[in-house]
């Protein structure tokens, strides 16, 4: 079972529905008890960084996320769900992130429209052999909606070009994160989610 953490923010059904569409037993979970036995965790997130992290904490699901990360359970953070894994965000400097990944979340470059609300091409880091992005074609387009993105670190496996280099996907051991929305990225997004579910077997 893949647990999609439901801490009461926005449209979290999309991730669950996309996984169910792939034939996976995916469930929205609102408590630690419901998440028990999960072979994979998805942490979605839309809206503001501060609102998401506070909702995650008050729901009690922060502990589910932290335990899964500590135990090496396959974990996928999506959009603000990825951003929350960092130490902090410029969007709300006073609020601390989960700090699982080093670095900060930064505002998108100036001179471009914010939010980036569009499809963009994934640019793969040359050295990366990402399990999440395995089997994708050369020009893979995915859907982004965001005004902030993590800064460049060694964990980055794909970027996109939007007024500069913008982080699109990260990977570290059994932790994956996408700044874009795979559940809203058509066939390409479903292929990415399928790669994740293979890690959860």
């Amino acid at each position: 079972m893949i647990a999609v953490l439901d801490y009461g923010i926005g449209n979290l059904r999309s991730a669950e529905k996309a996984l169910v569409h792939l034939g996976v037993d995916a469930r929205l979970v609102t408590s630690e008890r419901q998440a028990r036995g999960a072979t994979g965790i998805v942490l979605p997130g839309v809206g503001a960084f501060g609102a998401c992290i506070r909702a995650l904490r008050s729901s009690g699901l922060e502990r589910v996320a932290m335990n899964a990360l500590a135990e090496g359970t396959p974990f996928l953070g999506v959009c603000v769900g990825l951003q929350m894994l960092y130490e902090a965000s410029d969007e709300e400097p006073g609020e601390r992130g989960l700090g699982v990944l080093e670095g900060r979340v930064r505002s998108l470059p100036s001179g471009v429209k914010r939010p980036q609300m569009q499809w963009n091409v994934l640019l793969r880091s040359e050295r990366s052999r990402s399990r999440l992005l395995e089997g994708l074609g050369d020009a893979s387009w995915v859907y982004f909606v965001h005004s902030y993105a993590p800064e460049m670190t060694d964990d980055v496996v794909a970027t996109c070009e939007y007024g500069g280099v913008v982080v699109a996907a990260v990977e570290r051991d059994s932790l994956w994160g996408t700044q874009f929305h795979p559940e809203k990225s058509g066939a390409t997004g479903l292929a990415i989610l399928r790669n994740f579910t293979r890690q959860c077997a």
Partner: protein, 281 residues
Amino acid sequence: MRAVRVIPCLDVDSGRVVKGVQFGDLRDAGDPVELAHRYDAEGADEVVFLDITASSEGRATMVDVVRRAAEQVFIPLTVGGGVRTLDDAIKLLRAGADKVAVNTAAVQDPLLVSRIAEALGSQCVVVAIDARVSVPRGNEESPEGAAAVRGVNHEQVPGAPPERWEVFTHGGRFPAGIDACEWALRCQELGAGELLVTSMDRDGTKDGFDVALTRAITSTCSVPVVASGGAGELQHLVDVALLGGADAVLAASIFHYEEHSIAEAKRYLASRGVSVRPPNP
């Protein structure tokens, strides 16, 4: 890179897609979920469902349509029409919509935009603006004024006062007495993540988008702008993207009646120098 989105819009009445001509004369054009699925397969970047149902039973149908669509369609889904309260927005997002578009209710209560943005995030709040060329008082009988009212003349006449547009509500029935550019900026300040700007002079005419209106909004606001109303041929999409600065182009009838496929539209845009996500092979 910046890539212009191509968005088919489905007007939904009691669970069926219809296409009107200038907000009237409705024709049946199919099942919304089936059409959305087909557009996704063709490479649509997003789908908009616009609920034009009058009855409250019909509104419940819409939530069901959204729920069914979200099980099969894995591209962004925007739902508008009849969103009056934060609760309406929550219900649609919970059913599987990614964005909600507010129109009349936002004009009547602008803070609704902030309430939705604060509760659910700016990324899911679209303000739909229906605008019509406004003719300065006393000019109704002049050739330019009459042409502007018909939506024929969208070129700026040298020496003429700058063109202005007025916001209309209730599906285009009532003038709101607000300037469209001022309203667009206000919506952005209130937390709108996107603006869907429809020219009512052009809607359903197939004469092309009101490029000047789109340009006026895109040069005033920094959030993405979706241009709507008037698409009749593929060159119109190019014009509003290149000359109007639209971030996305929305069309209904040219796609519904299979005059052009989404794939054709995208290939045409690309051939004219507009970057788009390529259609599915």
